[in-house]
């Protein structure tokens, strides 16, 4: 509703100059249709491709010399490598090494999507529940498969922790099952809600800057600057939280409780 208003260029008195939700709209750049499936190239696709290109470029181009004394950028790449590698080692242990490339990919992908979203006029891919839920569900599936491959049918024992009184078991199993299956939801909603709320708030404040004019607009502008700093922190933090929860879920699958 608000978006059509915006597109028409009409603003009723007291409404924001820009609809804060407008930034989340998917814009189709190239219409592609393969076997009845709509796989159009949209602004979301564009930013995913940019993120992939940037991560690939950073991690290959800056390490091309494989210098013993690294340049600043090589140092940065190595730092991120060791950051994720430590995270995997501390949360999953030595067995987690096999899954390190996957977790590194997830971290870098989410981090770059979040960070790219902080640029003006860009699009935040991770502010879409469809994307974050798909990611979280992929992780959920992989982690569950890993659990069954490692423990076989014994992985069902995950839902019945050892050392619990028998009469407590029916209740506990239900709780465990629910908490296990809500994992992809909590994981995806956390990232999506953080990204969407932050960007909406920034947009609202930027709307205040315009509507309060040259005299009154400075206060919301200052608040916006502060919130931009906070949002950059959150962009990193949410990527970190997303990755560390992935590690914790993987650890649960590998080592049970």
């Amino acid at each position: 509703m608000a978006s059509t208003e915006n597109l028409d260029g009409h603003h009723s008195a007291g409404s924001f100059p820009a609809d804060p939700m407008h930034q989340f709209e998917i814009v189709r750049y190239i219409d592609i249709n393969v076997a009845g499936f709509d796989i159009s190239f949209t602004n979301a696709s564009l930013f995913m491709v940019i993120a992939v290109a940037l991560v690939s470029f950073f991690s290959i181009f800056f390490v091309r010399k494989q210098a013993m004394v690294p340049s600043r950028m090589q140092s940065l790449v190595e730092l991120s490598y060791e950051f994720v590698s430590n995270m995997v080692r501390q949360n999953v242990g030595e067995e987690g090494k096999k899954y390190f490339p996957f977790i590194f990919t997830i971290f870098m992908f989410v981090l770059f999507l979040n960070m790219l979203g902080m640029m003006p006029y860009s699009f935040t891919v991770t502010s879409h529940i469809a994307v974050t839920f798909a990611l979280a569900f992929l992780i959920f599936l992989l982690v569950t498969i890993v659990g069954f491959v490692k423990h076989g049918i014994g992985f069902f024992g995950y839902f019945a922790p050892k050392g619990v009184p028998v009469f407590m078991l029916p209740l506990l199993v239900v709780i465990e099952v629910i908490s296990y299956f809500t994992r992809p939801i909590s994981l995806s909603v956390r990232l999506f809600a953080n990204m969407m709320a932050g960007h909406t708030m920034l947009k609202v404040f930027s709307g205040f800057v315009i509507s309060m004019g040259l005299i009154g607009g400075w206060l919301p502008l200052g608040v916006m600057v502060a919130f931009t700093g906070l949002e950059i922190l959150i962009a990193f933090l949410q990527a970190y939280v997303f990755t560390i929860l992935t590690c914790i879920y993987l650890n649960d699958s590998l080592h049970m409780h």
Binding site: M48, V63, I129, V131
Partner: protein, 159 residues
């Protein structure tokens, strides 16, 4: 809310899986092995260098210890040498001194003998002269001739 527009889900999911799989392939096949190679190589180099430094410092310590032992031995040896030289020199000095003293005492003895001889000779001459003088004096003093043999007896008594 644009997030709930289901018509956008399929293209988003397609591009998500396409880009994520591509990124996973690039990172796991190309980028990450190279990065881990660099880091491992650096760690190896650092470890090697540290080992080498440790072994070198151990060697240096050993050399210093050797040096100290040798220095100690040399000090001891030099002290021993000094002592033996001093002893030798002392012996030589005493020997030379004794030799010299012997020579000197012999000279003194010789000189004394010579002096004694000269003294005796002189005394003898003196007594002869005295006798002569006494004889002359007495002959001039007294009328009677004094026999020389009495006088010699007399002078002997005086001397």
């Amino acid at each position: 809310m644009p997030q709930l527009d289901f018509t956008t889900f399929i293209p988003q999911l397609f591009w998500l899986f396409a880009s994520l799989s591509f990124l996973y392939l690039v990172l796991s096949k190309v980028a990450l092995p190279r990065i881990s190679d660099v880091i491992e190589e650096r760690n190896d180099t650092i470890a090697d260098d540290l080992d080498e430094a440790k072994s070198l410092s151990l060697e240096a310590e050993k050399v210093v210890d050797d040096l100290r032992v040798k220095l100690e031995a040399a000090k001891l040896q030099s002290q021993k040498n000094i002592m033996s030289e001093r002893k030798k020199n002392l012996e030589l000095i005493t020997l030379k001194r004794k030799e010299f003293e012997g020579k000197v005492s012999k000279e003194i003895l010789n000189s004394e003998n010579k002096i004694n001889d000269s003294k005796a000779l002189a005394l003898k001459d003196i007594s002869l002269v005295a006798e002569d003088i006494a004889e002359e004096l007495l002959n001039n003093l007294f009328v009677r001739k004094v026999e020389k043999k009495d006088l010699s007896k007399f002078s002997k008594d005086i001397i």
